[in-house]
């Protein structure tokens, strides 16, 4: 109802205002679309209807661009116009050679699901093996740790003790030398070394005597125990 009112008004206006072009809501426009009612205001957006009919380029002519003679364009023509494009539908699918190429490509780049699952499993297995080996190594080493700690501590104590002993020994020798000779002398001098050698000899003799006594006691004690 409103549209008809508008049409009446526009008709009246178009009749009255002759020289002035008035763009009204609904104007019967004789455009290249033919007699069509445009339902837009001033400056309507162009409708862009394609009523010319399917344009199928001439394959033999030189003037048609190269890209309109390709198979891809033929497929698009078929997609747009259907059988009116006069294209053999069998050409839409890949030929046997193309199909072989596609299959080879797929085989190379897209392995089947089983192969992929196997690869994944192999990778996972490798990872878990690595991890387990590492953990085993760590566990074994940790088990050895207390013993190693003990050994190390013992070593340290031993070295300390030895050092102490050596020091004491040296101090003793120095004191001995001081007593004998009356003055503190350098432990590297030959006199000191002679004195050290003498002391050693005396110690050896004492030890030998001790050993003999111990042997005699041993010889004396068992026959007494036996009898």
């Amino acid at each position: 109802m409103a549209a008809s009112m508008l049409v009446q008004r526009t008709a009246a206006l178009c009749g009255t205002f002759k020289g002035i072009s008035v763009s009204k809501a609904v104007c019967p426009v004789n455009s290249h679309y033919g007699f069509m009612l445009q339902t837009a205001c001033y400056n309507p957006r162009p409708l862009r209807l394609d009523l010319r009919g399917p344009y199928i380029p001439d394959k033999d002519s030189i003037k048609t661009p190269e890209w309109q003679k390709t198979a891809r364009y033929d497929k698009k023509l078929f997609g747009r116009f259907g059988s009116a494009s006069h294209i053999d539908p069998a050409s839409l699918w890949p030929s046997h050679e193309e199909l072989e190429k596609i299959k080879a490509e797929e085989k190379q780049w897209h392995p089947p699901l089983e192969v992929m699952l196997k690869n994944i499993e192999a990778k996972e297995k490798e990872e878990t093996e690595k991890r387990l080996a590492k953990e085993k190594l760590i566990a074994a080493n940790m088990a050895k740790m207390p013993k190693m700690i003990e050994d190390w501590r013992r070593e340290k104590r031993e070295t300390k003790r030895k050092l102490k002993e050596e020091k004491a020994q040296k101090a003793k020798l120095l004191a001995e030398a001081r007593e004998r000779f009356g003055y503190s002398m350098d432990p590297r001098s030959p006199k000191f070394l002679e004195m050290v050698a003498e002391i050693e000899k005396e110690e050896k003799k004492k030890k030998k005597l001790l050993k003999r006594r111990v042997k005699e006691e041993q010889v004396a004690a068992p026959p007494v125990a036996q009898s």
């Binding site: 497929k75 997609g79 747009r80 116009f81 259907g82 539908p89 839409l92 699918w93 199909l99 699901l113």
Partner: protein, 296 residues
């Protein structure tokens, strides 16, 4: 007529007797039009025109953004770190909240009585997917899981556990499937693809890094075992503490059980078919080699 009752009543009478609307009768809503700020005019806009007093500010010679007067600026003090390294090689999934899905169903933009696919979602303008921006599909997010109450058969590319629980709690079915970028482009814009005149291609399988996701039943992957999926359904029901409804006794069981083949892109269309839009015909190949390839 006296016995014909008019809708609107007095308001309609008033409306009929009012004068016609012209530019002289119209006025914008108060607060709709805000007066523009004109610099350099009048007592308050003129003089220094809002530029301040002398210096770089008034003379328009301020240093670049981020400059801190010579002190090492913040954007250089912070060391580089590869947060965005390789960002263009990471697959992206457009999030779809359950809240939005419920909104679409309530407005009637998505039909819950048919299987819901990415094509349906894009047709309903529920999501926008850009395959060229490394989008690999849509992911279901459990934002509106407490208000969600629709029984649907939905297929997405990723789904969070809460979303799966929400859908199965209402008696629906959810599947996660993979679409390679070409198939995705075809899926979201089927009509332009059909106008190209190419046969529907086969959907490719996911890459090795995504195969574990799509073969696990917890994610309802399309490559997973159906029995495992049943077990996972029961386990999830136990975890989220709801009773798992029995779908086999449902009247829509046939619709809910519809699922796509591993190599299929569209429901009802096989790979290898050519869909012709102007004549509304489907062309199927007859060559054995082609058939063998497309149905493998």
């Amino acid at each position: 007529m006296s016995f014909a009752k008019k809708n609107g009543g007095k308001a309609f009478d008033i409306l009929q007797n009012l004068p016609r609307i012209t530019l002289a009768n119209l006025r914008p809503e108060p607060g709709a039009k805000k007066a523009e700020k004109r610099r350099g005019r009048g007592q308050h806009g003129g003089n220094r025109s809002g530029r301040g007093h002398k210096g770089e500010r008034q003379r328009g010679n301020r240093p670049r953004l981020g400059f801190e007067g010579g002190q090492t600026p913040f954007y250089l003090v912070i060391p580089k770190y590869g947060f965005n390294e390789g960002h263009s090689r990471r697959p992206q999934y457009q999030p779809l909240t359950l809240k939005r899905l419920q909104y679409l169903i309530d407005l009637g933009r998505v039909d819950p009585t048919q299987p819901i696919d990415l094509t349906q979602l894009v047709n309903a303008r529920g999501v926008t997917i850009q395959p060229l921006k490394r989008d690999y599909g849509v992911q279901l997010v459990d934002e509106g899981s407490d208000i969600f109450g629709a029984k649907i058969n939905i297929e997405v590319q990723r789904a969070s556990e809460g979303a799966i629980a929400a859908i199965e709690r209402n008696g629906g079915v959810i599947t996660t499937s993979f679409y390679d970028p070409i198939s995705l482009g075809i899926l979201i814009k089927p009509v332009p693809f059909f106008m190209r005149g190419q046969p529907i291609p086969r959907r490719m399988l996911p890459g090795e890094n995504m195969v574990p996701y799509y073969t696990s039943a917890e994610n309802r992957g399309y490559l997973a075992d159906p029995e495992e999926i049943q077990q996972a359904r029961r386990a999830l029901a136990q975890k989220y503490n709801y009773v798992l409804p029995d779908i086999s006794k449902d009247e829509l069981y046939h619709m809910l059980a519809v699922r796509k083949d591993v190599r299929q892109i569209f429901f009802g269309l096989s790979p290898g078919w050519v869909v012709n839009m102007p004549e509304k015909k489907i062309l199927k190949p007859t060559d054995e080699k082609l058939l063998e390839y497309y149905s493998s």
